[in-house]
Amino acid sequence: MIKIENLEKVYKTEEIETTALNGINLHVKEGEFVSIMGPSGCGKSTLLNVMGLLDKPESGSYKFIDTELLTLNDRERSNFRKRNMGFVFQNFNLIDELTVFENIELPLIYNKVPAGERKKLVNEIIGRMNIVNRSGHFPQQLSGGQQQRVAVARALVTKPKLVLADEPTGNLDSTHGNEVMELLCELNETGTTIVMVTHSSHDASFSNRIINLKDGHVISEKINKGKTEELI
């Protein structure tokens, strides 16, 4: 589904240039659950941002089911993103002024889904995420785990082909962290492709494949056998 070739990304400040991605090649199949790991500053978040069309690389190619995404303009990138991708962040990034229901509804609004349909979809996902009795609450009234569930619900409500998760358990204790990981697995089992950046080997163990980055290079790739067999 995803074909990334020779991706390069350089950050420039007045004095120094930092190469964040240095000729990355990466293929992700449909329905796969891929973890990207590596030390701080290895470029894993940059890679995820590029995959989510939030950042532009200097060169390379990024094909998503045969569509080259790097040549799109801002508007086309926005359109592509809202139709095909969902995001889960380490710090949840829920809008504080909106309730749980409204936060989840937001991407549907940008996808111009009619109001009746929106209500149905949001209620459905709220039920699935087990946060029905929280739908009128504001984010500050929820625990970290609950907030991340809302964030996951928001990422899934548009039924995206690809979910990008950036350290989704980074701000959670282990119990809540596991809940979120199980949620992602369930999602993956229903066919959604997931790419996750993480520091935690424990979290990575939930995925089919683990890619290790260092200094902007892919240094190793490991198939998580137990999971892959399950997949097969």
């Binding site: 978040s45 939030l54 993103r81 809202k82 995001f87 962040f89 990034n93 909106l98 940008y110």
Partner: protein, 789 residues
Amino acid sequence: MFKLNLKIALRNLWRNIGITSINVGGLAVALAAFMLLMMYFTYETSFDKKNPNFDNIYIVGRTFPDFKTNYTPPPFGKAIKENFSEVVAVGKMKKGGFELAVSSHTSTVFTKQQLFVEYEAAKMFNIIPEGGLKKPNGNEFLYYLSKPYMQTLFPNKKDTKPEMVSIGSRSAEQFGEVRGSIVPDSHSNISFDAVSIVNEIGTGESYGHPNYFTYIQVKPGTDIASLELKINNLYHSELTKNGMVDEGEDVTETNAFLDPLKNQHLKPKAGSDANYKVLIALSVLGFLILVIACINFTNLSIAQAAKRAKEVGVKKVMGAYRFQLTIQFLIEILMQCLVATVLGLIIAEIVLPKFNSLFLVHLSIWNKENGLIWQLPVILLFITLIAGIYPAMVLSGFKPAAVLKGNFQTSRQSYWLRNSLLVVQFSIAVIFITGLLIINSQLKYMRTQDVGFNPEQVVYVKNLVYYTKPEVFAPVREKIMKIPGVKAVTVANAIPDGSGMGGNGYTVEGKQHSLSFLDVDYDYFETLNIKLKEGRAFSTSFQADAVNSAILNEAAVAKYGIQNPIGKTIRGCNIDYTIVGVINDLKAEGFEKAVEPTIYAINNPCGNPKTEIMVKVDEQRMAEVLAILKSQWSDINKRDGDNFRYHFLDELYGKLFAKQEQLQSVFFAAALLTIFIAILGLFAFAKYITNGRIKEIAVRKILGANDLQIFKLINTSFFVMVMIANLISWPLAYILTKKWLETFAYRIEIPILPFVLSALITIMLTIITVTIQANRAVRANPVDALKYE
């Protein structure tokens, strides 16, 4: 989506209610000031605009080598009408000089602005009595009174029949017919409270009687420059034809000009354009206040931007376009501006009575003619764009990948922009504070300086009878002096209230100069407590005093350079006066004009009639004396004694200070407003800066900095900016106040204290504001600040 955006906006504003209130409140106050000034501008620039002939009416004026006047001789208008076909109408007017009593059987009113208007002029200016404008027959005078006067005189009148009234003192038995009432247009250059409409005024008067205003109405599209030239040529030929040019005199020394009606209120050629300049200055001030408030709004919005960054990031991730977000923020700001506009209207309505009394106008927000109906939406859009476009662009421009990780910074460029803006704001505030303090000093000087006479406890009694000869006034004085508590009584041709005096040529020792003259009676100097420098005052003991004695003021003595003036002769009006005394100069015309060299005499055949009675009263017995004067007035002043009307001289003299007091009020309001806006701007900026330095503060605290050191750290840059603002403004304020002070003949030296004080005030306010903002950052637990990393 609009509903959701609205929810986000409202919840956001509510959560930051403090900042929102300051932001919207600051804008509302500035808007109120702007709206008031705009209404004032519209009002002042639209005198007579309702007149359908507004663009085609001109007044004919005359230019002399050293002045211009709108007074014209009556035959000139007629000549213009006869000679030029492009002039479709000519109408003359004349002002009545006296305050006249008009009485019915039951009551009396006093007309202060009697106007004589030709029928043609009445048509031109829409001077239409109730019941319609009628053409007088032959020499008929159609006399109308303003509606309130008519209602006072004939409260039960229902019909439209004429009524008989007595005009002047009842004892004079002059009667006239009032045709009805008229409602004068208060928004016209032609103002009156009684009007006589006639077919022609000044009939039989020649080119030597220039006492009339001549208005002409031209055909639309007339070439005014060429008409003016033709009228001027006609004027010259008429002067020559009527023998008005002496031998050797150049007829082209006086010229005729045309001045459009639209210039008459603010910048007449024959008159001062000071009001126009003041109006422009006020408009610029209003506009500046609004723009500064808008930019402040921008600053505060951007200072709040951090709180919205995540929202922008999330929305962009979900596919929102930048354009959508820009519009969203603009609409949010439009809503705030709308609230500010409504609040501004409320504030303006509250302040309006004070504004009206300060500027002597009757503005109303609800008057459709003030133009607010169409101006308000324009202003609203204007301020939304000015205040909103920059924050909307900054906010919608956030990069989602960065802000969702908590990194956002606005550019260095905007930092400079805001620094400069702050300096500009404070500079303006410093100019106004310094200006206000210097105006205060000058006014204090004017109130405490010896003006050379004492107007206190002097009652000025209104009167129409000529008391030019001392023997005619003697019985009146005698009767008034009998009232216990009266210290002195006199009559003169003018009172010292700045109303000016007549002038004439006088010769001393072969040197001729023009002097102002004041015709007085005995006890004039005693009544006004004017100090003699040399010689004596007029006295009944010296018979010559009523014939040819004169008293000069110091300025007159200086003008002639007379040594030992007492006993010397001064010749004027064919009389050889003997100088019997010299008085100290008195500032009868206030502090703006230098004291005129003046001659005081009892006998002056070239002078003006003495009608102004002044009575000096014992401080303790004022009420008593007034009561007795009132009850006995008809007996004391038999020929004009129906109504005892008086003013306190000190109040009349005090009116000379009114203009400066108005300026003082405007400066007070402007100083408050500009400092308020500057402090708001500072508040936002300090918040922004401290927010940006929270981490730095935390690190410094962990490394052992104490609170004071941190306050100092944050305050220093603001202190420097305010000092720069002071340094920029001081020379400007010095130049401006010096210019203002130069309009006074008697003035203070520019003191240093106002400059020091405005620096102290601005620095104090800055430190307080910044410290309040910094306090939050200093009090915060450094661990929390660093945890964000």
